[in-house]
Structure formats: C-alpha cells, structure tokens
Amino acid sequence: MTDILVYVPNSGKHAAEVLTLARTLGDVSAVAFDDASASLAGEYGAAKVYRVEAPGIDDYFVDPKATVLTDLARKVAPDYFLLPSTDEGKALAARTAVALDNGLMTDLSGLAPDGTATQDAFAGTTIVTAKATKGFTLATIKLGATEPAPAPSSPEVETVNATVAESDQRVKVAQRVDEPAGDRPALSEARIVVSGGRGVGSAEDFALIERVADALGGAVGASRAATDAGYYPHKFQVGQTGTTVSPQLYVAAGISGAIQHRAGMQTSRVIVAVNKDADAPIFGMADFGVVGDLFQVLPQALEEIEKRK
C-alpha cells in the first residue's frame, strides 16, 4: 500500500488538483487546518483527514505549521508528501525537508505511479524527469498539473491538537491586507486571460485590455515591460518573475513574446496575438494572430463580440 500525505490549504482549485493527482498514486491522508480544507479533502477522495486544531497558528508565518507538518510526516512515514506549489507550500516543504533530512522537488507538472516526476525547466522549453533516490518523495505540485476530479469520500477524521511553541513565534503576521480583486477571475485560475504589453503604451489605454477581458469573462494580465513601465500593477504580471498561467485562451495584445513572458503562458491551450510587428516572436506560437494596430483591431473585435453575444 502506498501512503500519500497531502497538505490541503484552503485554496480551492489548486488543492483539489493535488488531491486528484495524489489519488492516482495511493491512499490519501490529508492535513487540514480548517473545516473548509477538511471538507475539500473529502470531496476529492481522501481516505483520512488529520484535522489540526492549533489556536493562534495563523498569527505566525510558516514556522508553527512547518512543525505540525514535520511531526505528522515523521509519524505517518508516507511514501509521498505532496503540497501545492504556492509560496506557503514551498516554504513548508523546505522546512520539512531539512527537519527530516529528506530531498525535495518543486513545481512538478506530473507525478507517475512509479515515482517519476515531471518538471518544466528553462521557462518550459525543457521537460525534465526526476526521481527521489533517498527517503520519501517530498514535492510541491504546480497549478494546472492535472484536472481536478471530485470523488466524494467519507474520510476518517483524526483531530490533531497542537500548540504553537514559543520557538515558532518568531515571525509575527502583524497585518493581512487584501487588495480588492474586483469582479474579474483570479489571474492564475482564469479560463481566459487577456494581457497587454508595451504596445498598449499607457496606463489609461489598459482600459481597452480590461474591456476585452470583461467581454470574454476573463482576467487581465500584463507583460513585464508593461508592469515595469507602470501601465498596470505588478501583481498582474504574467511571466517568469510574475504569475504563470495556463488558461484555455490567452490573448496577447501588444506583447512581443520575450522568453521571460513566454515562460508564464506557453502552456495555454489556445494563444491569440495582436501586434504591429509581423516579426514579433509571439506570432511563432500563436494559434491565431493579427498583424495590426491593437487600437484598431481590438475595438472592432469587441464590437463583433458584443454582436454575437
């Protein structure tokens, strides 16, 4: 029997994907720090849920959760310990790796039942396969590695009571500030992403990109050139130093397609590009491209989209 331990944070689709992937490997035990995570684990086929009760744990960054997960991993001695590839998931995996003197792999795009992991290297231009050679497979799974598939179960629930040790109170979370996300879907999870680049030319003209995104029900993204120029906030940057997206449709307007940008969007299912420069690299990967002025092409497309709705 293969035992899989999965850390389930309360973050919807990504955690559901990790649980779905874990199910293909063996029996899944989930670690949940709240009720929403525990019920997600049940929806996605966990056989067991460790429901951690640790008053005050959210007041501190990483350390106390790392201690809980390390203790559980030591006790359960799983064949695999999988976490979502988020900042938090990677941090917790790193801490567990050192504490248990175990290896660590990050950003897996696949994991086969024989333990062979798949990773994208160099902005996805190279696909690497790797295996753990010592200890158990401790890995973080990147968003979009699999399609989440529900498989409702009635997991056995074991309550784990933990206290936050003083040594884990070193990094205090003094304040959490949520910036308004608006009505658009989250960039990393959106089915459709419409991005603007340097060719948009100004912050004001990004309104056109927003209008196209809204007409299609998508999220707005921006290239690094556009965020560096201050046209659009950095948190919407798609690319190597921003968010990696893998939507059904990616529309790139005024984006040349530098490697740094392609790193963040090249696994999109359908790519559409609009650019004045016929030699822009983005056209080499686009399923449909229009060589032209985005300020002519996009308003006309919008008009046609509205007509067809």
């Binding site: 990483v62 900042d87 990677k90 995996a93 790193a94 801490r95 790796a97 050192v98 175990n102 290896g103 660590l104 990050t106 062979t116 994208d120 290297a121 160099f122 996805g124 190279t126 696909i127 790797a130 753990a132 070193r170 990094v171 979370v173 003094a174 304040q175 959490r176 500030v177 949520d178 910036e179 996300a181 960039l187 299609l216 950095h234 948190k235 190597q240 130093t241 449709l249 740094q260 090249q266 559409v272 609009v274 016929a278 056209f283 080499g284 990967m285 686009a286 399923d287 449909f288 491209g289 229009v290 060589v291 002519q296 092409v297 308003p299 006309q300 497309a301 046609e304 067809r308 709705k309």
Partner: protein, 256 residues
C-alpha cells in the same frame, strides 16, 4: 548593520538555455548573468546600509566565471565578497547547497541575510527557508517592502491578492521580489573601486562539508527533452477586417 546578500550567477533567461551531458544546468556558455532577482536583493541591502551603516558582504556559490557576478555587486556598492568555488559542488541539490551556504554564513557576522525570492535558473524559491531551518534565523520571504529599526525587521510579504505585514527580531533572513526597488547601475567610479575590494575564496574543506555533488543529492534527474515547439497557426494582416477575423476565430473556438 551587517548584511549578507546571496547572489547566484545563472544562464541569461533571455537567451536559449540547456542542460549539459550530465543533465545539469549548462553554465559553461558565455551567456551568464547575475540572477534577475538578485540585483533587487543587492539594492535593498545597499539602501539599508545607507540608512543604518554597516557592511554589505556578497556570498555566492559557483564556478570561476561567477567572479563576473561578484564584480558587478561590488561595483554597485557591496563592500566585500565570499566566493565558494569547488568542483565538488557541481550536481548538488538544494538541500546540499543550503548546507554549504549555511556553513559559510556561520563564518560571517550578520544581522540580515537578503536573497532574491527565487533564482532565475531553477526557480525553486526555497533557499531562504532551507537556510532558516539550518541557521535557526527566522525567514521573512517574498518581500515587496523592507524596513528595520536595527533590532527588528518588518516586511510586506507579497501575495497574489494583497500582502501580509511580517515582523521578526534580527538576525533574520529576507527574500525580495522585483517590486521592492529599482536597482542602481554601477557607476564608473564604482566599477573602478570594485577592483580593489576583497573577495575571499573558499572551498568545501574550509567549510567542513564532506558530501556534495550528485553523490549526496536526494533526487536524480533521469531524463530531459525539449518541449515540442508550438507551431504558428493562422496569421492575418489587418486591412480593416482584423478585429472581425479575430472575433470569428474566438467564436469558432467557442470562446464567445
């Protein structure tokens, strides 16, 4: 305030990159640069030094040509550097790398360690937390803002939909995103001064590290293949109908 900045020379992400015959990152090409996020870490350290005094030491692990990256940081204004250079390091995994860096940090006096949030070659983003586990110092990662009063450090930890304000006492480890500042360019004076700044060279034996390289790694790369290139689809030139053609394509693909 004494600050150690972690920098790593990486293959330029703007050019083609590849693995070598041992399935490791090919670092022998001429197109190596300082990690894209490392410049922001150096800038953050220099700004804190300017406000609080002290010394900025650059720590790097890499082959001989990483000297170019060290020179750049010294030209930007770092005071000195430590270069761990040992052939036995090649093929080390992140865990071993963190043990080597932690041993080097143990030889230095520091209030803060600053690193980029991730390297731009392997992009793992785990080194600050690995070092936190090994050194016992707290890690405050993914900062878009950093402040210190000399005894504690406060950062804004960047999230997709906002940020968290984190605080900890010094000494601490902080990693930064490119939202934190605009790195300075080395001045001509800085470039000249860099030539006289001390660079200490260390080998694994100096750090008491016995096991490194692939033999000590807990993972093994078993294969690598180029991703099949996306091929260009239909490209039209706008002659007044480009937008309509675009909408028709989206409708045919059922996005409208």
């Amino acid at each position: 305030m004494n600050i150690v900045v972690l920098v790593k020379q990486v293959p330029d992400s703007g050019l083609a990159r590849q693995l070598d015959a041992q399935l490791r990152v090919d670092r022998n090409g001429a197109n190596n640069v300082m990690g894209e996020l490392d410049e922001y870490a150096v800038e953050a350290a220099l700004q804190l030094k300017e406000a609080h005094g002290g010394e900025v030491t650059v720590l790097t692990l890499g082959p001989g040509q990483a000297t170019e990256t060290i020179r750049k940081t010294l030209a930007m204004g770092a005071d000195k550097a430590v270069h761990i250079e040992d052939d036995a390091v090649a093929g080390s995994d992140a865990l071993t790398t963190s043990a080597i860096l932690a041993a080097a940090l143990g030889r230095l006096e520091w209030d803060l360690v600053i690193a980029g949030a991730e390297s731009t070659d392997s992009n793992m983003g785990v080194m600050p937390q690995l070092l936190a586990a090994r050194t016992g110092a707290p890690a405050l990662t993914g900062a878009r803002k950093i402040d210190t009063d000399g005894t504690s450090v406060t950062v804004e930890h960047q999230r997709a939909n906002g940020y968290d304000v984190l605080t900890a006492n010094l000494p601490a480890i902080v990693s930064v995103w490119d939202t934190i500042n605009t790195p300075r360019y080395p001045s001509l004076k800085g470039i000249m001064a860099a030539k006289r700044k001390p660079v200490e060279s260390l080998q694994l034996s100096d750090l008491g590290i016995e096991a490194a390289g692939q033999a000590a790694a807990a993972n093994e790369v078993v294969g690598a293949a180029a991703r099949p290139e996306r091929t260009a689809g239909q490209i039209v030139t706008d002659e007044g109908q480009g937008g309509t053609a675009l909408a028709e394509f989206l409708a045919a693909e059922k996005f409208i």
